[in-house]
């Protein structure tokens, strides 16, 4: 495995599969109840600070509908208590927990574990 190589494909990572915790930024750098985009080895990840629920989520930044690098700029919220993000382009909504498309047949999102330690936000990757 070559650490310097760029990652190309999004693939959901479960907590157990994490080999690398990537340190993104300090909590204060994130907007409240909103998202920001981080780059890890060429891969764009949307990280959401759901401060209202005291929860953090990470998904791919690419909206599968029109292949746009945009989801970090989407509005987050809930649908019957399921946390979600809506793409700014055409309002396709995805579950932040499972990545599932909530209102149509678009592909689901890849999701990544997030942890917060000593004021810093980390996203988990396999490699």
């Amino acid at each position: 495995m070559n650490i310097g190589e760029e990652l190309i494909n999004y693939e959901t990572v479960s907590l157990e599969e994490v080999n690398t915790w990537f340190k993104v930024a300090s909590i204060e750098d994130f907007p409240e109840n909103g998202g920001a985009c981080a780059v890890y080895r060429g891969l764009q990840i949307a990280i959401f600070n759901f401060s209202r629920r005291n929860e953090w989520y990470a998904t791919q930044n690419l909206c599968p509908h029109k292949q746009q690098m945009i989801l970090a700029r989407g509005i987050i919220g809930s649908q019957k208590n399921e946390p979600k993000v809506a793409c700014p382009y055409h309002k396709k909504a995805f579950s932040l927990k499972s990545g599932k498309n909530l209102n149509g047949n678009e592909c689901d999102l890849a999701t990544y574990p997030v942890k917060v330690e000593s004021g810093y936000v980390y996203v988990g990757f396999k490699e």
Binding site: F30, C37, A38, K80, P88
Partner: protein, 828 residues
Amino acid sequence: MKKVVVVGNGMVGYKFCEKLRSKASSDKIELVVFGEEPIPAYDRVHLSEYFSERSSEKLSMAPKNWYMENDVTLHTGELVTSIDRENKKVITHHGHEELYDKLVLATGSSALVPPITGVDKAGVFVYRTIEDLDNIISYGKNVKSAAVLGGGLLGLEAGKALMDMGLETHIIEFAPRLMPRQLDDHGSATLRQTLESLGLQIHLNKNTKEIRGNGKLERLAFNDGGNLEVDMLVISCGIVPRDEMATTCGLNTGPRGGVIVDNQLLTNDPDIYAIGEVALYNNMIYGLVAPGYDMADVVVNQLADGGKKEFKGCDMSTKLKLIGVDVGSFGDALGETPEAKTIVFEDEQQGIYKRINLSADGKRLLGGILVGDASQYNMLWQIMDNELALPPAPEELILGSRGDAGSDALGPLPDSAQVCSCENITKGDIVNAIKEGNLENVGQVKSCTKAGTGCGACSPMVADILNDTLKSMGKVVRKVLCEHFDYTRQELYDLIKIKNIKSYEDLLNTYGSGDGCEICKPAVASLMASIWNDLVTKQDTIQDTNDRYLANIQKGGSYSVVPRVPGGEITPDKLIVLGEVAKKYNLYSKITGGQRIDLFGAALEDLPKIWEELIDAGFESGHAYGKALRTVKSCVGSTWCRFGLHDSVSFAVEVENRYRGLRAPHKLKGAVSGCRRECAEAQSKDFGIIATELGWNLYVCGNGGANPQHAQLLAGDIDSETCIKYLDRFLIYYIRTAEPLNRTATWLNKMEGGLNHLKSVIIDDTLGICDELENDMQYMVDTYKCEWKEVVNDPKLRSKFSHFINSETGDPTQKFEEIRGQKIPAAW
């Protein structure tokens, strides 16, 4: 299996196929249709829309593949020339022969062309088919003036179309009044006054003797010795049933045309029916679409179900919008019933005339006329048709009673009452469909029952019935925002204002539930901006992306930048700055529809730098990204234009600067024209101001977009100060009461009482809120700040404009291509 052949593919012919196929599939009845026109049936009732849309598809009753999908064999462009009754077959002009078991004649009618000398000259047209319209449009391009022969329904429609083509337009009517079958002298006079104020020239009592000119039409000569110089003539003075083929094969026809039918629509041949405008029933040709549909229904009932439905004649009531003027005529409109008593209301100032005719004992409504305001048409028609008891003071029916008297009057409506006359749908049909199908909105009701899909006149009543039925089922019909707020937008407006709530989180904690969503967050953001005028980027994550980054997101994730150019007036120096900025940041440049310049393809992180330069040069945010005031477009006005009455540019600049930054339920556009030539297209805007000799005419609630709608006159000949005052009131009233993302036109369409209600609130202050509305607007004007200036001067706000949280670089995936020397985003 039976084989049915239909001759004629017009509205009624099509409707027959639709109704037949809903009852009998192709394994029961084979269906073959001949239409002489090259395209399948289209909506002739809305023919004048072809002038603006230029699309026969929009008028189409059903696309070609509908016929295929429903196993209907359609031969277009093929004229049936004779019927061989003995061998039961029809023969077309191609020599094609088709056998039938049952034959349905739906050949319709052609335009009546009176035998006037010179009627064959170039420049003389009839108004009947899309082909006629194409000819009129192409001839009209090279002429200045036109006349319509015939001041009936269709003639006036044609007149409007000619006026829209920019021609000086005359209407010539033989009778002493317009729409002689539907209106009396007073109604005609009221209509005439309004139409003339819109620019139509109307000549009554004119008998056209000769059409003169050298090869082409140059002037019309009348019997009274008068002349009218005109370049073009459109004939619309009646219809002639297309019965020629019926006559030659020996079917009985009337002395003035039309195939004679009995109450089962059968001709004297038991295998041949006639329906629509070719059928002569009880000595009458029904020149409206609703009776034609009824006839189709009766024949389908016999052929598909073996039923015995009868055609019983049909009401010739009609309601329409003629050139923006409501006209309704129903029942015994002219009061010809012996001893009928008449009640009349007339308002010359507003161009309103209403008349109802009562039975001799005063207990029943016989019919009536409505000009200028037909909002009571449905109610009156129902009272007449169902013979409902009249209120003790029947004059209240037309005196514009307040409140929701309209729906009260519909309360006792029996289930058998016909609501949609085009599709023959009763109130009971609609109520049952709502209950059985669990329908919850008008769209569902329309697609399920077909009610309101014809002329659409009954749509408001369908909505009323839906609301009443839902209420009776105990369903709440409040239009709440979303699952997180059990309040309407208007209720939230009041809560935010009265409880002095300044943040979304506070509102959600106090009055909402859950965590919000992409519907309520921007809606509340808009409300707070409309009420408090705080900087929107302070609560950036509840904004849609455009408001969050104060720019318009485009394909590929880049943004576009539109500085304000009030009234579309810009100095050369400022133009140069725009050019320099566009060059420096490599931005695609395009002039917008609102007289501004849009710079596309800016990276998120470049936005503050771009704006810093623009602000240094004196530009401000144009709010192109917001549901907010966009532009106030202007024509050049009296400073330069030889036709201009007032300085439209200065007024547009003043108005745009007054309302800049104003956030609303949807975007707002305005325009100011310096004369009634209307170069600024003010009547297509949310508010449009047009100079008159005496001041300004203020129009409101127009829009372009998917469903274009002309703005309507709110107040005429007012001075600048009054105009601003009315605008202040109008805009705040809209902001307060509209549903989310409803533009002013939709808002007005849904408003109970419509324009009259709006006028009473804005001009007569019937709600007593005008001071409040003006104060609210003054607050917005006083607290205006340029959002981009705030951001540019605040390092913390500036730092939000970056693509990555952990890198300074922009989005490396953004890709651009080139077109005509500028960049565009790679296609998605």
